[in-house]
Structure formats: C-alpha cells, structure tokens
C-alpha cells in the first residue's frame, strides 16, 4: 500500500435515494495535504457525498479519481480512506484500546506492532490514559479523540469527518478545532470536514465548498465566500450572524437615480446598468455600528438610519441588537461588548455603503458597494 496523498477528483457524480436526486452532478477537485471543509445546511447531501468519497456507497453515475486512478467501485479499504461518524460509532463492547486497534487487527499485523502504533496514536491525541475504558465511560471529547485515533492508526491517506463537533458542547468544541488543525498540519493527511456549522468554515478557512440541495454552489477560501458570495444562500450562511437583506427600488429623485429602501434613500454617485429596478441589498451585522463612538474613518459613504429595539441578545461577550425598521425581519446589529437595552428604545445606526452587497431579485450576486463607490 504505497503511501501517497492523492488529489481527489469527483466527475459528474449523481446519486438518487428513495426516488429523489440527493446529489446533482457534483464536480469537485479536492487538493491533497489539505483540510477541506464541505459546508452546507443539514440534508444538503454532504453525508451522501462523504460516503461516496469513502467508498461506503457507489454513485449512480459519475466517477471518482484519486490522482488519475479510477476508484469509483473500490471499497474504503482499497481506497485507504477512513471516516469519523457523527455519533463517533465506537464499538460499545470493546475498550478504547481495542477500538483503535480494530483496523490493524484486520490487517493481521503482529500483536507487538499493533500495540506500538495504538499507543503512539493515543499519545498524540492525549487519550492514552483512557485506553482501558469502555466507550460508555468516556466523555464526548474523549470519544471523539478515540474515533479520530481509530481513523489515523491505519495510516489512511484520506480522513472524512462527518459533523465531528455537533455532539460536543461549546467549550470542548473550541479545543477540538485547534486539535484538528494541529493534527492536519503535523500528520499532513488529507482531511475532509463535512459540517453545517459556519464557524467550522471560519476556523478552517483555506478550502471551503458550499453545498445546498445536493449541488455545489461555490468553492473558494473564506474571504472569497465572505466578500464575493455567489448568491443569497452563500451570503446568508457564511458569517457569524446572518446577513440582513433589505429590498430596494431604483427611483428618480430631482433627476438623479436614488436607491429607495424602507430605511431611507441612498444616493449613489453612479448606478451601473446591471442594477435592475428591483434589487436586494445585503449588509452584515458586523458592518453596522450603533451610537457615535466608533464611526469608521472615510465618512463620505456613511448611511444612518433609525430603528426600535426588539431585543438586545447577548452572545458570549458580544451583543446582537435587533432593530425593528418596519421590515418583515428586524435588522441585526453586532455590538462587540455587553450592551443591554430594553425593548422599545429607538436607536441610531450607521454603516459604510462600501460594505453593501447587491443581489438581483432572484438572489444572484451582482456586486459590492465598494465596486460602485470606488
């Protein structure tokens, strides 16, 4: 089993499950020696794709290539791929040691060799003190480490993790993410992370593929997806707090074109033709500021509006203020400190029009405020 780290190519992969298409001709190239995040809302086909790459399922049509070798019909063993499942899938009747050793036992290695490699991996994942315990006695974080150790021990060249953090509580998640980052850098193995949590995409920001309804919507690194989302679903999903969307119409005002919205009129110097009459403006909560203290420097393109506080939601050390401006959904504003306000108060909020995102009515991304304002 020669040790090489292939780049994975998925060509026109389609998969049906009980009648409906869950993967619609997926074409993806996953670079080797990288931590690749496949991000998407639940039931967007991520797990199905993961199982096909792992070899647990075969696609209805399409091919999978490792470098240029067609592995479409090979099993997980022949592909030397291993997978960490959402519920860890540890064998309840075996101790942690035997769980990790199980793939090696299948390879009929010497008892001594197995013992050495298991202890080595357990040491690396800081789990060696729990090897004699059964899975039922381990904590969430420990179970996760044993599952990863089992995937690592047989020297798999590709490890697929399906929603690895969803079962861990908040505080443990932070450590496990740092752990996974360190693991990928040290061992250099290909890691594919299937996740529905945007925070994962933010932490592992180099390679992200956004998936929805069985299709790959956009591929790129975090800044590309964050600054130039392909459509509303990407813009809405990437980001700590969901982006605000404000419908807008272009109207004529004393012979100058103006963007008319619920929160006021925006005078833009030039309105490119590509903007039809009806468009959708997107503004991220972290780009809106409340009160006067931190008004951004180049004041030229500042837009201010007023809103009535619906609720000031404290998240960790920040606060999301929900301002009711007469739209169906309140405008979310991120305040980086603890900022308690009772419902009903009227507040002034400002943002720089360069930070705006413009979408057409069907949700396709057109351009950024910065592109227009120069």
């Amino acid at each position: 089993m020669k040790q090489f780290l292939p780049t994975i190519k998925l060509v026109d992969i389609c998969k049906k499950s009980n009648g409906s298409l869950i993967l619609k001709n997926i074409n993806l190239e996953i670079p080797n020696k990288a931590l690749y995040v496949v991000l998407g809302p639940p039931r967007s086909g991520k797990s199905a794709l993961g199982r096909i790459i792992a070899g647990l399922d075969t696609p209805d049509t399409g091919r999978i290539l490792f470098d240029d070798q067609d592995v479409t019909n090979l099993g997980p063993v022949e592909r030397n791929v291993s997978m960490v499942f959402q519920d860890f899938a540890l064998y309840p009747h075996l101790t942690a040691f035997d769980n990790i050793a199980s793939p090696l036992r299948k390879l009929k290695l010497l008892k001594e060799e197995i013992r050495k490699r298991v202890l080595e991996v357990a040491e690396y994942l800081k789990i060696s003190h729990r090897l004699t315990h059964y899975p039922s006695e381990l904590s969430g974080g420990e179970k996760q480490r044993v599952a990863i150790a089992r995937a690592l021990v047989k020297g798999a060249q590709i490890i697929i993790l399906d929603e690895p953090f969803i079962r861990l509580d908040l505080k443990i998640r932070e450590d496990m993410r740092a752990e996974l980052y360190r693991l990928q850098k040290d061992v250099g193995v290909n890691i594919i992370l299937l996740s529905s949590d945007p925070i994962d995409a933010m932490v592992f920001s180099e390679n992200i593929a956004f998936m929805q309804n069985g299709e790959i919507v956009q591929v790129g690194n975090l800044t590309e997806l964050y600054d130039d989302p392909k459509n509303i679903s990407v813009a809405r999903y990437i980001g700590v707090i969901e982006m605000n969307f404000i419908p807008a119409k272009i109207t004529q005002e004393n012979n100058r074109k103006v963007l008319d919205t619920e929160i006021g009129k925006m005078a833009l110097p030039t309105i490119p033709q590509l903007l039809e009459d009806e468009i959708l403006i997107g503004i991220r909560p972290e780009h809106i500021h409340i009160g006067e203290e931190d008004v951004p420097s180049h004041a030229g393109n500042i837009f201010t509006f007023e809103g009535r506080v619906k609720i000031a939601e404290v998240i960790g050390s920040e606060t999301i203020v929900h301002l009711d401006v007469g739209l169906a959904e309140p405008i979310r504003v991120l305040v980086p400190t603890i900022y308690k306000k009772n419902p009903g108060e009227v507040l002034k909020a400002t943002f720089n029009m360069r930070d705006l995102y413009f979408f057409d009515v069907s949700g396709r991304f057109i351009c950024r405020g910065g592109d227009i304002l120069g």
Partner: protein, 374 residues
C-alpha cells in the same frame, strides 16, 4: 383547600430562599444537589439561574415551585413561609423544558383548562385565551390538537397556558432549548415583553449563558449546588467574583495564568518561571496584596487584550477569523492564551508579536479559593 390561601399568594410577589439544602439519596450514596443557597428574588424582576448541567439550578427552581421539598432551609413568598405548601397551593405557573401539553386536547382547551379549574366565566376565559394567542401568534391553531403541532408551536402554547393565569411567579426551566433557532429569537423577545407587561417576577433556568444574559435583570451563577455570584449581567462580565464565573461567562472565557507577585526595585511584577514578566504596580493597593499573596492567578478576557508595539512578546499559533473580529491563539512563555482583536491581515501564524493588556480589566484571583482579589 379554600380560596383564601390562593388570594394571599397571588398578591405576594417577592420570593426569599433561606439556607436551602437538598440531598438526594440513591441507594447508599447521597448527592448534595443544593448546598446552603440563600437568594432574594425581588418583585417584578427577571432572575436567571445559570450554570453547567448538574449544578443544582433546576432543583432550586423545583423547590421554589413546590415540586421538590428541601432537606433543610425555608422558602418564603413575601413573608409567608410556604415551605410545606405543595405546588398547587403556591399558585405557581411553570414552563417545562419539554412542552407539557395534554396531547388529546385542542390548543384552546389546553390554554383554558387552568382557568376552568378556578371558576372563571366562559366568556372571560374565551377573551383571555384569544388575547394571549393573538400576542403569541398561535391564534389560527386554536382548534388544532396539541399533539399535531410542531415543537415550536407546542412551546408557544405552553407559554400561553402560563400567561393566562394570574400566578404568584413565572417559573421557566430551560424552555427554549428544544425550540429551533429562528423561533427561539422571537420567543426570547416575547418572554421579555410578558415579564414587563404582567409585572410579575420571572425565574429562568438555563445552561445557555447568552439567553440568560439577554433576558435577566439579575443572574445567580451556580456550580456544584452553590450560588457563586448573584449580580447583574454587566457585573458578572466585568467583575467576576471567582475564576469559575470568569471562565463560564463570556465566549471564549477569561484567560488564566498562574503567576508569582515579585517586588523588584519598588515595582511589583507578575512573573512566571518561564520568564513572563509584567508590571502591575498601577493596580490599587498592590503592595499589601503582594505582601499577603505569594502566588496569584492572573485573569484577563481575550477581548481586553490588544496588539501593540511593545508589551509581552508572544508567538502566534493559530488564527480563527470571524468577519470583523479574529481570535489569536498565542503562546506567552509556554502559557497558551487567547486574544480577540479586530481583523487585520498583518498577523500570520508563526509570527512573533507583542500584546498588551487593558489596564482596568486586569484581575487577580486567590489560587486556593479562586476568589477575586482585585
């Protein structure tokens, strides 16, 4: 049970727990769920009980509601000792974690049933039920069977059941954990409005700090059955009384470094064996603290650390980018700490950078008791 009891209770509003202790006996082992808790819940306030699971917050809540008898200590509604009254006599309205609705009854009957138990005329009942369901947006589900509704609607009905009654106090045991994120935000706003509108005190138990920080006027942080600190959200964040509160409140929690206080040529420094050194002479009465404490725990929140040209030299291990903010995992002389700073592209993994601490936000804790010194 004549109605005089009930009248007495509804007019009372403040609740006082006097040295409450609860011990559960499981076979031979006995677990101290609540240890010597004294708590004053003034009227018309929204009080949160916050802490990790198993810290005794739910048991305390159930003792207030009368669903659990304390092993020792007294419970007062106003100045009436209600310790021996069972739940039905205390006229308490409670929302459970899982919506406790009568499955075969319609939504209308589920809401009306408590009123029918206390001899209210049918028109009055109809008027109140319509008013409440209007407010909670469940008006057009009134004739639906409770078991047919989805979990969000069922919890709204459970809240409606509580609102129609005129209870002595509202009690909520993690009501929003089962609700989906979208509906959770709306319900948080509604709960705050209910508390303000009906002018009754509300006791809210949750392990989710953002929910409790958002809604509560005062919060009791609990751990291992004890109340560690009972204060406003801002004070808990800025002036935690011990290391646990500092760690638990805020996301990510406070950094802690075990240091020594060493005096050197008239200045007081925080030092560690590995060479960390930081001048803290500016701290109030630092000199007599230095005399009484050899070892201290230095606490600083990640968001109170800033990049600077001088200060403490650290190595950057890992970066988590969050749109406008980013979290730097840095190593200061062998100690790992996290800093939350505005997004910049200058800092890269592996760089040697300088950080400085916000002088007013530095805290010192007693290593044995964990209590805050400054």
């Amino acid at each position: 049970m004549d109605d005089s009891y009930v009248e007495v209770v509804t007019s009372l509003v403040s609740i006082f727990l006097d040295k409450i202790t609860k011990i559960f006996k499981k076979g031979k082992t006995s677990i101290i769920a609540v240890k010597d808790v004294t708590l004053e819940i003034p009227e018309k306030t929204f009080v949160g009980l916050l802490g990790p699971s198993g810290c005794g917050k739910t048991t305390t809540l159930r003792i207030i509601a009368g669903l659990e008898k304390p092993s020792s200590g007294r419970v007062y509604f106003g100045d009436v000792d209600v310790t021996d009254w069972d739940a039905s006599k205390r006229n308490v309205a409670m929302v459970f974690q899982f919506p406790a609705l009568y499955p075969t009854l319609s939504v209308y009957d589920n809401i009306a049933i408590p009123l029918r138990a206390s001899k209210v005329s049918e028109q009055d009942i109809r008027r109140q039920v319509l008013e409440v369901s209007e407010f909670l947006g469940i008006k057009d589900y009134l004739n639906e069977k409770a078991s047919k509704l989805d979990i969000n609607l069922r919890q709204k009905v459970a809240i409606a059941k509580v609102m129609v009654r005129d209870p002595s106090v509202f009690i909520l045991d993690e009501p929003l954990t089962v609700v989906e994120p979208k509906a959770r935000l709306e319900l948080r706003a509604k709960l705050k409005e209910i508390q303000l509108k009906l002018g009754k005190s509300m006791i809210y138990v949750s392990h989710d700090q953002s929910e409790v920080m958002t809604l509560s006027d005062k919060i009791a942080v609990m751990n291992n059955g004890e109340v560690l600190q009972y204060d406003t959200p801002e004070n808990l964040y800025n002036k935690p009384r011990n290391t646990f509160v500092g760690w638990f409140i805020g996301n990510p929690g406070m950094n802690f470094i075990d240091c020594e206080l060493t005096e050197e040529s008239g200045r007081v420094y925080l030092t560690t064996a590995e060479g960390f050194k930081y001048d803290v002479s500016f701290l109030p009465n630092i000199y007599d603290i230095a005399s009484s404490y050899r070892k201290v725990i230095f606490g600083i929140r990640p968001e109170h650390i800033a990049l600077s040209s001088r200060g403490v030299r650290v190595k950057c291990l890992h970066i988590e980018r969050f749109g406008s903010m980013m979290i730097l995992h840095v190593e200061a002389y062998g100690r790992k700490i996290r800093a939350k700073v505005p997004q910049t592209s200058q800092v890269k993994v592996g760089d040697e950078i300088y950080i400085d601490f916000n002088k007013e936000k530095i805290m010192l804790f007693d290593p044995e008791t964990g209590k805050a010194i400054i």
